[in-house]
Amino acid sequence: MSNVTQTHSGKKLHKLEKVAVRFAGDSGDGMQLVGGKFTETTAICGNDFATLPDFPAEIRAPTGSLPGVSGFQIHFSSHDIYTPGDAPDVLIAMNPAALKVNLKDLPENGIIVLNQDAFSDTNLKKAGYTSNPLEDGSLKRFRVYPVPVGRLNAEALSKLGLPKKDAERCKNFFALGLIYWMFDRPLDSTIGWIKDKFKKVPGIADANEAALKAGYFYGETTELIPEHYEIPQARVAPGLYRKISGNEAAALGFVAAAQLAGKQLFYGSYPITPASDILHELAIHKNLGVRTFQAEDEIAAIGATIGAAFGGALALTGTSGPGVALKSEAIGLAVMTELPLVIVNVQRGGPSTGLPTKTEQADLLQAMYGRNGECPMIIVAPATPGECFHMAIEAARLAVKYMGPVMFLSDGFLANSAEPWQVPRVEDLPRIDVHHPTVEGHFQPYLRNPETLARPWALPGTPGLEHRIGGLEKEDGSGNVSYDAENHQHMIHTRAAKVAGAAKDIPPAKVAGPDHGELLLVGWGGTYGALRAAAEEARAKGKSVAHLHLRHLNPFPANLGDVLTNYKRVLVAELNCGQLLSMIRAKYLIDAKGLNKVKGKPFQVVEVLRGIEEAMR
């Protein structure tokens, strides 16, 4: 945190380039909510930002307990940033448990704002403290600002006549108001939201607004907190921006893809963390021709999706790793019947139920090989929350052009993380060409397009094209059931060649950094920000490091083999035990090394930088 001082309303205002703030409290304290509001205001202030919500799998773990701590980190800046920040500069801790869980991430001299009213003997005990950290000197290394949030909030709301419990619930807005003051942010966007959200219960709206203002004025009028900062606007490309998370962007991307293809969007899904938000978002848009189906289970969700694809919808199913495991037989059916659909896997920590709310990238080989038989499928992976939009369109394009299922590998980090996003103009988006045959005569459902090897997408309701498809091996051309040995081998090779052939149709691999050099850092999916920042830092230190982030994982870009040979070393960084690494080593026979982490958390920039330095030693 570098400081330049200037005067503002008679108070010292320090200018900062970037800062990371973490809100932490009980999972019932509304930390995700205030984090989200802070993010919106930050967006309107014109900063670049990245966020990382971190919440427990339990909706409400016991109050005050360590497993019940919910956190939300936002990194915002006056220049481009790529990650939510390795460590917070400022920690807001609403109770002792939140302090205990998050303190280890805070650097020396970091700022702690805490709700001192919550530091009761009971709460200290619940958090496993044997002495009060506010009194025992254990926080000496930090700048600590205890604020009696509970008492001040109660006083601020005393005139409103609210039941004690309702008033107590507003304390997150008091804390938010204080942090708004600390970073010189306007209150109007949040007040507008409060008024709209609670318009049916004006008493609650008034209370939340009063709490927010009370927190702000507390910062402004007391001399207790000398920390008051300004983070100037970021210099970003001109245009219209909004905040977007990965799940939102994916949902919008598929709505757009359907319109670009002139299709109805069908979404069949079964609720599962962290993919459910896609279902919630799509269920809203009935007036945009989106039909959602909450199925009885994961298998029914993809079964219905295949049925909708057969009927001619742009068909989509979404889930997380455990759901993909259940869907795998049906994915095989889609490969066999060569019907276009997209399967969204918002990856989470595995195996089995694993870490439902945490991020991981350990389903790549499941996407590649997790089915019976030789069963290839196109796989794409967005790199940033905003990119989920464009990769959704790309996934849909590949599905309908190559007539087969496409796996869209998102992850828990991308799903919930938010960033500023330049709103695309619909007229700039690529059209998706779809062709349905109508010619009568001798119709052959497996007669292929010689260029793409795709079969025709003939729709029920078309006279003269009545035909039967299914999971049994088909004779090429006629589509009749065939047990012929030569035909089976031919069809296996044809399905593989069709997927491999898509390599001609995807963008070439493009590195950031030198096009020849010492080390190529390779990644995929939601680790983009940390990898890009680490490679830039390495270059700033004079190292010859380039970064390649793959969006297409099957097939790989056609030039990938050549790109890999332009560097002395290849380091593949991923949040698994080396899945892309093994694919690259197997395909290109190079001695690539892995940088791997499986802690349910994103990479920190510093970890990747350390990995680069170790690999170059």
Binding site: R242, Q259, A304, P460, R468, V481
Partner: protein, 347 residues
């Protein structure tokens, strides 16, 4: 007999008249000689022609098993999917294309064992599908293991000492989840099958039909004691809406309610006073459920339409919601959607 349900979901009649032969695909039928499936296939093809269904608007979807080869033999659109999952594909297709006539063909293993979950949820939702469940009380395609409808004690390859499973009743399941059309027929009575299939085709909502079907190889004669012509009058009860429940040669026996239990009584001189009168349109499925519990040897086995009520369909309500949303909010604007609730301009 009157038809209670509307015909509005049926596809509009074919432009050119269609015959039974038009519904026969060119594929060689590969069921065992003497299999009950032949009779069902022929009757379904005839029903399609009788109702003048346009072939292009009809889709048959199946899972895995002997019965699931059915779509290959129908000259309509067809999908031979994976084990137990046909109702899911049919649901997705019906949501995407409500105007199509979608039929599911399944068996006792496919529909009630591996696919039991989908079957109950599909019937519960009242998706406008026609589900034909061929019940032969055995696994045929995998060569003779017991099925969930096999009678307890049955000795099969996988149960050399007899099954210890209690069997499941397809109709009890369908009525338990409040199916809006629930019927039973048999491959040995073509006239009855024709009536039931036509009623099913005309029903708006999920029509669930159990068809007793004989497997000549692994379970021959499973229903002989009920459905064979010579014993039928004494062991089968043919339900007709609004008519007293009479069976036996010359209608000499009937079903009466003793409290909440059915009992078989002799009817004196054709008198039907006090006998149960079949009401397929009853709002509550209680009596239909009671009928579905009746089995030999204590009771005759009922055939016919157990229940046929009108209730909004899943696909119909989905379209209603879509229309209401569009009427209220106007046709969606993608650009507006992309902008979202809050934007800021960078100059």
């Amino acid at each position: 007999m009157s038809v209670t349900t509307t015909t509005s979901t049926m596809a509009p009649p074919a432009a050119k008249p269609v015959s039974k032969a038009d519904f026969v695909s060119g594929q060689d039928v590969r069921w065992c000689p003497g299999c009950g499936d032949y009779a069902i296939l022929a009757q379904v093809q005839k029903t399609m022609a009788d109702l003048q269904f346009p072939r292009e608007n009809v889709v048959f979807i199946s899972g895995i098993g002997c019965s699931s080869r059915f779509p290959y033999y129908m000259n309509t659109y067809g999908f031979h999917s994976i084990h137990g999952r046909a109702p899911t594909l049919a649901t997705g297709l019906k949501i995407a294309r409500p105007e199509l006539s979608v039929w599911v063909v399944t068996g006792d293993g496919d529909g009630l064992s591996i696919g039991g979950n989908h079957l109950v949820h599909t019937i519960r939702r009242n998706v406008d599908l026609k589900i034909l469940l061929f019940n032969n009380q055995i696994y045929g395609l995998t060569k003779g293991q017991y099925s969930p409808t096999s009678e307890q004690g049955k000795k099969t390859k996988s149960t050399p000492f007899g099954t210890i499973d209690y069997p499941i009743s397809p109709l009890c399941v369908a009525l338990g989840v409040e199916g809006t059309f629930v019927a039973r027929t048999t491959d040995t009575d073509l006239k009855h099958m024709a009536m039931v299939l036509e009623r099913a085709a005309r029903h708006k909502g999920t029509a669930f039909v159990e068809i007793y079907q004989n497997c000549v190889i692994f379970n021959d004669g499973a229903f002989k004691g009920i459905t064979e012509k010579s014993v039928r009058p004494e062991h089968a009860l043919f339900l007709e809406h609004g008519r007293p429940m009479l069976f036996g040669k010359d209608g000499t026996r009937g079903i009466r309610l003793d409290g909440v239990h059915p009992e078989v009584v002799q009817t004196a001189g054709g008198k039907t006073d006090g006998l149960c009168v079949h009401d397929e349109r009853a709002a509550e499925p209680t009596l239909a459920y009671m009928l579905s519990r009746m089995r030999n040897p204590d009771y005759p086995v009922p055939f016919g339409v157990f229940r046929a009520i009108e209730r909004p369909t899943y696909d119909g309500m989905l379209l209603d919601q879509e229309n209401q949303a569009t009427a209220k909010l106007g046709a969606g604007d993608l650009q507006k959607l992309l902008k979202g609730p809050e934007t800021w301009e960078v100059k």
